[in-house]
Amino acid sequence: MQELKNRIAQLLADGSVQRILGWKKGEMDYDAEPAFFETQASLDDFVYHGFCAANLSKYMIEAAKLPGKTLVCLKPCDSYSFNQLLKEHRVDREKTYIIGVGCSGKLDIDKIRAAGIKGISGISEMENDTLRIETLEGEKSCRRKDVLLERCHVCKGKDHVIFDEQIGSSQDTTDGDRFAAVREIEAMAPEARFAYFQEELGKCIRCNACRNVCPVCNCRKCVFDSTKFDSVQKVNADSFEERMFHIIRAFHVAGRCTDCGECSRVCPQKIPLHLFNRKLIQDINTLYGTYQAGSGLEGKTPLTEYHPEDAEP
Amino acid sequence: MTKSEYAAARIEEISGTNPYRCMKCGKCSASCPTFSEMDIKPHQFVSYVLHDDVEALAASKSLWKCLGCFACVERCPRDVKPGRIIDAARQLVLRQRGNSYLSADEISKMEADLPPQLLVSAFRRW
């Protein structure tokens, strides 16, 4: 992290960039948050560690409107999102300086808590892939790989698909099958599937966190906030979230979703929203050929493309 | 599925060809170096499979006359690959004899005038 910090301080100091988009120390060690840094002094709060899970690419849409260049720190998976945004003309490459930061998987505080570690006052990452956790009950530890975010187990890889320079090393964390959960649900009876999603989506409080965090859910005006579909009528439907919002959201990001996993990470109700996206990605891969959104800038997305011999619905 | 339908389906499976694609141009027979030795000609292989008459194909002399040179496979404009069909038929016969490939011991039991190229190809495949 020190190397990264030195480098961004230098780029800010010599005027190469006007501001840094990175992560800022939170109240606790595990709640780092995205932030813009414009002064050297503010960089004191800059951090990069296992809890810097937030995908910063979406903030670059706003950064593109600010004067001057913005330096953004992108993890390998974030770089796919940035690429996708670039493809959709939503960010300005000219006004962006990308440091591809290394990643050894991001950590899930809920998994740590679920492991019975409570009253956490501090967490530090150790060399030997363990975490040292200070708690009210004294010092505890756990293995990194046991508390990784779900998405890190099915990581797309640790290569940045777009960057100006790279800093920091990465460690492969892939040890799971990305579509295993999707297949599990597919194997269930329709009634059971319906019950499962009814239960999960029933928790939705329509806080819009998923929509706000999703890099490709970047419409200036969401259809669910516009008058164009007469769909701004949450009140007169009894379970609008289950029946409309999440289906349409998944559909709108189909072929564009890079599977960054932010939707599920930020959901306060812990709804496994990424399952919808994964399901669609799996379908696209099997029906239209393997496609990874954000891997390149050329070509059309699967839903704006066709083949005369495509499968029938 | 009758026995002969089953055999025809197996041929299609083993050979990986689709006999329905044949446009009956005959380029296979025109290419075949052992055409004159064969009782069922290469272009006819396809129709035997299409008409589920694998038994006749399996009993034919052609089965053991095909050199496996694959000239017909190379030149077939419709990607039907008659050479693979006869190869598959040969394979079916070999499997019925209890083997999935030809073993060296069996050579002495075979017809004396088998072309050596065929033997090589029978060792080679599967």
């Binding site: 999707v182 599937r193 579909f229 439907a237 998944a250 669609l280 066709y306 499968a311 619905p313 | -």
Partner: protein, 147 residues
């Protein structure tokens, strides 16, 4: 809540037909007096690719029991490529609906040319029968939108 599953159940079916092939096919079914149940109501759209998934979900939300989309046969689209997009969109949408446990049979895409009045009638008959057998749409509907 009491859901009526008796014989009297008549499904509500919304059909989207493209102007150039399927709507003309429906007209042909009419002029050939090839009947299909009155439960089917057709909405005319310029092309099947005009049909937004929002429309389908809206129909279900408002109490439709089945939604069918008809367009020109692939390759015959009046706009040359519209139905190809429809095909991909609906393939994914239907798959997603099935994934969350909605009955797959409630949605259908059928290619009907202007000459296929008989096919349109058969398709509608079959679809009404299929959806009728499924009963009321509960999984996607909003009960308060029921009259």
């Amino acid at each position: 809540m009491q859901i009526d599953h008796k014989e009297e159940f008549r499904p509500k079916i919304v059909a989207f037909c493209c102007n150039w092939c399927s709507y003309a096919g429906a007209d042909l079914a009419g002029s050939s007096r090839l009947s299909y149940p009155a439960d089917v109501k057709i909405i005319r759209v310029p092309c099947s690719c005009r049909v937004n998934p929002m429309f389908l979900l809206r129909a279900f939300e408002r109490g439709a029991d089945g939604v069918i989309l008809c367009g020109c046969h692939p390759g015959d689209c009046h706009y040359s490529t519209g139905n190809y997009y429809t095909r991909r969109r609906m393939t994914l949408l239907f798959s997603l609906l099935e994934f969350i446990g909605v009955e797959r049979e409630r949605v259908r895409v059928e290619w009907v040319s202007a000459a296929e009045g008989a096919k349109l009638s058969e398709t509608m008959n079959d679809f009404v029968k299929t959806v009728g057998a499924l009963g009321r749409n509960i999984r996607l509907g909003d009960l308060r939108c029921r009259n």
